[in-house]
Amino acid sequence: MTVAQGNRDNQGAWSRRLLREFQRARRESGGGDLTIELAGLEVRLAFAQPALEALAQRLMGHLELAPGRFPDLQVYCWQGENTAERILTGSKSQSTQKLHPQTRLRCNRNGRIWERQLARGTEMLLDPAQQWGLYRMSPGPGIAFPEQASLLHPLLVSWAAQRGLIPAHAAAVGSVGKGVLLAGAGGSGKTTTALQCLLHGMDFAGDDRVVIQVDPPRVWSIYGSAKIDGETLDLLPELAAHVRFEASAPREKGLFYLNPLWRERITRDFSLHAIILPQVREPWSGRLVRVEAAEALRTLAPSTLLAYSRDEAAMFGKMAQLVRRIPAYRLGLGGAKAADGAAIQRMLQEVL
């Protein structure tokens, strides 16, 4: 047997092993399917735990579709023990205990992608050619906070990127099918602006994880949720009853699920008409200030690329195409507490 054959057999054996684990978990724990439309395609999610299915409904219920016969992607998702006995990084054997807790391990061979994210406690296999994926999460108690906020994110964005889309670190709001992207590093005011717009009647497509198509410009929703901290919640007290905070960080890590409350206000996609760069630390500008395409790229690209960390040059090029196609504006918020939601909503409507 050649090395290549051995590796293919190894990959196949491991995939079959994981699938058997999923099937066993589903027999033992139950769980159903959720079929969603993601970036215009049909994705069928199969869960081996009712709590996971319920979480998927809270996060992605707005994307639900009646199942067709042939989904573009079939995903099997469950919680279970790690099945791999070793991880090799480079030419050296290395146990995961020796790695930084935030490390991601990734192998891309024969078109298949395997990735383990230690912080999330997840392991995934994506086979784009065969249109299926496996996603194993570490066993409980409960479901880890990153999954509660963005279930299946590593797998779904890998798949979207394989299809030429940009998994972006940005929010998106709009109305009547037209939207704007809200781009900026963490803490720039994306969530505050997006939630202000929601409370003032605009539709919502995402808080900080969306998928972008360049030609024609379009933004696709993944999650109907928003990560919110205590300071933002002070600004939006009407949401307080609906925010769940992580017990270990009661002022820092809060989650707000829009699906149970405002499903009709979460949209699957918008045509994209502008990029807005909220700046929470800048004085309240009272208007949108047109900026160069380079500034938009400088704002959108680094956190998107560094968070995604794959095919960076190609992804960067696509983002450059996007910023050349649609205008970008800076919006000084004058501090989170000063943000005037009604005025922001009016300004954004003017560019739609």
Binding site: W14, A84, E85, R109, W114, E123, A185, A294, R298
Partner: protein, 144 residues
């Protein structure tokens, strides 16, 4: 091969950049720093694919009499120092033969080359390191 000189070359493909009329946006994927370069800096960056020396860069930027001015030399040298410090450029003692020759733009105006360094995403990168695993590193299933 040329010897006993210092040549400047672009660092590896962990540097990605996009040029606009008024600015070049650049990211160093290893450090997590990103950059904004003015058109004058962009002109120097373009020259680096020839693996030039400082003197060659100065000559390529405009008239010979201007290249000899110490103020301009210092400004370009300082700019190159920043590129090296930021891991965007490497100093090397040799360059390969066969690189295309530099062309001088005798009519070009000179402006101070500038680069702005942004470090606010560095933490994100360092917190979330990626390890690409070789083919033999595909997970091996435990025995049943």
């Amino acid at each position: 091969m040329n010897t006993k000189k210092t040549f400047f070359k672009p660092a590896g493909n962990h540097i990605i950049f996009e040029q606009f009329d008024t600015e070049t946006v650049m990211i160093n994927l290893k450090s997590g720093h990103y950059f904004s370069m003015n058109p004058s800096g962009q002109r120097i960056w373009d020259l680096l694919r020839h693996w030039p020396t400082l003197e060659e860069i100065l000559l390529a930027l405009g008239p010979e009499e201007r290249a000899g001015k110490s103020g301009i030399q210092n400004e370009v040298a300082a700019f190159l120092d920043t590129l090296v410090e930021q891991g965007l450029t490497e100093r090397v003692p040799q360059r390969p033969d066969g690189l295309p020759p530099l062309t001088r733009d005798a009519a070009a105006d000179y402006a101070l080359p500038q680069i702005q360094v942004f470090t606010d995403q560095k933490e994100l990168l360092l917190l979330d390191p990626i390890h690409e695993v070789d083919e033999p590193g595909w997970p091996t299933p435990k025995e049943d």
